[in-house]
């Protein structure tokens, strides 16, 4: 477990992952996407037991093995070496997607290229002509999992907003995102649009709104 590094402002990736982990209830079945989402597994709060599924056929995924103990036949969806916890089980791909498509996974945590005001998600393709399209399990996850959490930097490296009115990249799914965790804020996608539920320390609502491509509202404690 690496110590969260200090960011210039807002949350670090590790802090974002911690915030996601804090919102995962005891006993939940969770699928983590490749990239930042993988960090979430490190921050399950003490006293909670969370079971991680990886769609390539393992329920009860544990942390990475110690160096030298990797098994090329025990990997996660990102094709990295993992371990299996006590109480794990292996299954084939069709059974794995029974879990996913059938609505048995409580939460999936995914990265994003764009999220729209209505919860549309784009995270699989830039749609550029020379890109090699590759979708993996992303469309199955957003269609089948009970709650879809997105964890992402609030804007791209060049400063383009990732939370937008309409996605311009090809969609992974329509109206599928429940909550977005960024370095600046936690935002729920509600029937009334995106609502900022919490701001990172030192970050103002205006600061977030300026870096967002759609109108946000702020949660009112009523």
């Amino acid at each position: 477990m690496s110590a969260p590094a200090k960011a210039n402002y807002g949350w670090t990736r590790e802090q974002m992952a911690q915030r996601v982990a804090a919102d995962i209830q005891d006993g939940a079945y969770v699928n983590l996407g490749i990239g930042i989402p993988e960090l979430v597994a490190q921050y399950v709060p003490a006293g909670r037991e969370v079971i991680f599924q990886t769609e390539n056929g393992l329920l009860g995924m544990g942390p990475a093995p110690m160096a030298g103990k990797e098994d090329p036949e025990l990997i996660n969806a990102g094709k990295k070496a993992v371990t299996a916890i006590a109480g794990a089980s292996y299954f084939h791909h069709a059974d794995s997607f029974v879990m996913i498509r059938g609505g048995h996974i409580d939460i999936c945590v995914l990265g994003a290229m764009q999220v729209s005001a209505k919860g549309d998600l784009a995270n699989w393709s830039t749609g550029e002509p020379d890109a090699i399209p590759a979708v993996g399990g992303a469309m199955d996850l957003v269609a089948g999992v009970k709650k879809v959490f997105v964890i992402t930097e609030h804007a791209t490296k060049s400063g383009e907003p990732k939370i937008v009115e309409q996605c311009t990249y090809p969609l992974t799914g329509k109206a599928v995102v429940d909550r977005v965790y960024t370095n600046l804020a936690i935002i729920d996608i509600t029937p009334e649009g995106p609502v900022v539920m919490e701001l990172a320390p030192g970050v103002t609502f205006d600061h977030v709104q300026k870096r967002t491509g759609t109108n946000l509202s702020l949660r009112t404690n009523s």
């Binding site: 005891d26 006993g27 079945y29 037991e49 079971i51 599924q53 329920l59 009860g60 299996a84 916890i85 006590a86 109480g87 794990a88 089980s89 292996y90 299954f91 997607f97 029974v98 879990m99 498509r101 059938g102 609505g103 048995h104 996974i105 269609a143 089948g144």
Partner: protein
């Protein structure tokens, strides 16, 4: 900490409500969760739709549930086994409904329900009365009927062993409908002979991963339906 053990069979089925759809595992007596069914008799929920391959025998288990007038409708493939008299009697009197489904279609509908598949096509029953009223369609040169996924509010399932996560293994041909029913029910309630520590079941050998199981009840020495029938027992 995850621990799916219920304090008793009665507690495990206590929230089964009137009008619920219940899947009950078993092929004949093999895999039939008699003790859970008897708890459901005690619970008294009425107007149930029951999905199970058969309709029970004698006056115990599923037959007792039917005899107790808790079942409004059966969805099954083979409602008349040896020693089955409760269902036939009520059916002839028009006091219970029957949706007859070919066995493989029944299994696939349950699997589809658990897999988030609302409908699929099968050649089974094409050209028969069981295809009446069903949408049909040609793929390639063959005709198929459309069948719908089945889901349930609860499943009552018998397995052999579990761990506290709800991972299950079964015994021989008592496996039958158990694994797919666990996937297709909102609440899967499973009776097992024994609950072992997490990690004691080989992860390669687990048939039902715990994600599909909600409640576990230990019945160390389950009754065998045929033995109860031979002894002319009835429940309650």
């Amino acid at each position: 900490m995850i621990d799916k053990r219920a304090v008793s069979a009665a507690a495990a089925v206590a929230d089964v409500h009137d009008g619920a759809t219940i899947m009950i595992s078993g092929f004949g007596e093999a895999g039939s969760p008699i003790e859970l069914i008897h708890a459901l008799v005690d619970c008294g929920a009425k107007n149930l739709t029951v999905v199970s391959n058969n309709t029970g025998s004698g006056r115990v288990g599923l037959a007792a549930l039917i005899a107790n007038r808790q079942v409004a409708k059966m969805i099954c493939s083979y409602p008349r086994s040896a020693n089955s008299m409760v269902f036939p009697e009520l059916y002839r009197k028009g006091e219970i409904k029957l949706e007859l489904v070919p066995q493989g279609t029944l299994a696939e509908r349950i699997r589809a329900g658990g897999a988030g598949i609302p409908a699929f096509y099968t050649a089974t029953s094409v050209g028969t009365v069981l295809a009446n009223g069903k949408e049909s369609r040609t793929f390639g040169e063959r005709d198929y009927v459309m069948e719908h996924g089945l889901i349930a509010d609860f499943a009552l399932v018998k397995a052999e062993k579990a761990d506290r996560h709800g991972n299950l293994i079964y015994n021989k041909t008592a496996r039958n409908f158990g694994p797919i029913m666990c996937t297709a029910a909102k609440v899967a309630i499973v009776q097992v002979k024994e609950i072992v520590e997490a990690g004691e079941l080989d992860p390669e050998e687990i048939v039902t991963p715990g994600i599909f199981v909600n409640r576990l009840v230990i019945v160390a020495k389950p009754a065998q339906e045929s033995q109860l029938v031979k002894e002319d027992r009835s429940y309650p």
